[in-house]
Subunit: 196 residues, 2 copies
């Protein structure tokens, strides 16, 4: 059995394709991006894309799942390094803000792409594992008495809604300043809205 050529790292082509797809999908959208576009940007051939992925949709799915996995890893890290709901939720917002600045395209695609239009099988972002984990943080904070008793969905929406809205504004170019500059102000409002 022949091994892949030694002059390129294994999985590197896949990575090139996924990175190119992320760039094009966020810039022009999934449906405005052709497979030849992806091949050109990734500097590989069309055939190579179909060698590594089942079809165009499969590229988008691999990208989406990979981003979701990364996000979930960040949340697990936060859960492991912070004890209270307050600390955890603040860390979540700080992380989201930083990620938006450092990986703007990833955040854009993960949070605001209309996945159901090109990934019919996947569940809506709202009910993805990361968002469920964030609601868990809130639920536990309510159980511990840190957060007022109320519907978990309402509490989560109010706690994270402001931050997510600001991320949208930033991604749309409506907010000029880096998000971390607004962390303290947003957090004060967010926590005040649901704190016991």
């Amino acid at each position: 059995m022949a091994r892949p050529p030694a002059n390129v790292a294994p999985g590197q082509i896949r990575e090139q394709i996924i990175v190119a797809a992320l760039h094009l999908f966020t810039q022009r959208g999934y449906f405005n991006t052709s497979v030849p576009d992806m091949a050109r940007t990734a500097q590989v051939s069309v055939g190579s894309i179909y060698h590594h992925f089942k079809d165009k949709e499969d590229v988008a799915r691999a990208l989406y799942l990979s981003l979701m996995e990364g996000m979930q890893a960040e949340l697990s890290l936060i859960a492991a390094t912070h004890a209270t709901a307050r600390d955890r939720c603040r860390a979540v917002i700080a992380m989201l803000f930083q990620l938006t600045e450092s990986s703007r395209e990833a955040m854009d695609f993960m949070l605001y792409a209309k996945h159901k239009e090109f990934l019919p099988g996947e569940r809506p972002v709202c009910s993805s594992l990361p968002f469920e984990t964030m609601r868990d943080f809130v639920q536990q904070g309510m159980d511990q008495g840190e957060i007022r008793r109320m519907d978990v969905m309402v509490a989560s929406a109010c706690l994270f809604g402001g931050a997510l809205r600001l991320i949208t504004a930033r991604l749309d170019g409506v907010l000029a300043e880096p998000l971390p500059d607004r962390l303290d102000a947003v957090w004060e409002c967010a926590w005040r809205s649901i704190a016991a």
Copy 2:
């Protein structure tokens, strides 16, 4: 110049096409909807669509602008019938919640379609007139001392972010109960977060 046929009201065909487009765009998305699809759903011919609209994009634009106009009218009404920022903003959220229940597809298309992918000319929703009006409400509330002094964008995001997040959840089917049932709870959190 011939007047339109007497057996159909003037502008009715246009309306049929726009309604069909709204239905299909929210159900499958703009790019998964073909012009023949629109013709079939609107019960008109393909040629008729091109008689009333320049092209497919023009249908989407007419739909979008019409929805935006309706939203702005609602906001103007609120501005005229409520004096304080507190009353105005609460009325805005109540209106958004009601509209989501009564015109789910309209809200979905207006707030969460990726317009820039098929309406390259239009500005992002964030910087549309309705959203600017909502920020104006907040700014005036800050000038009047009702709302704590802070960045207007941050305050607006925190005040409306929770409600908008809940609307997303509702549209995604993650929230089972009608939004108006949650109005009091959401409003208490929202106002608490920025009230002076």
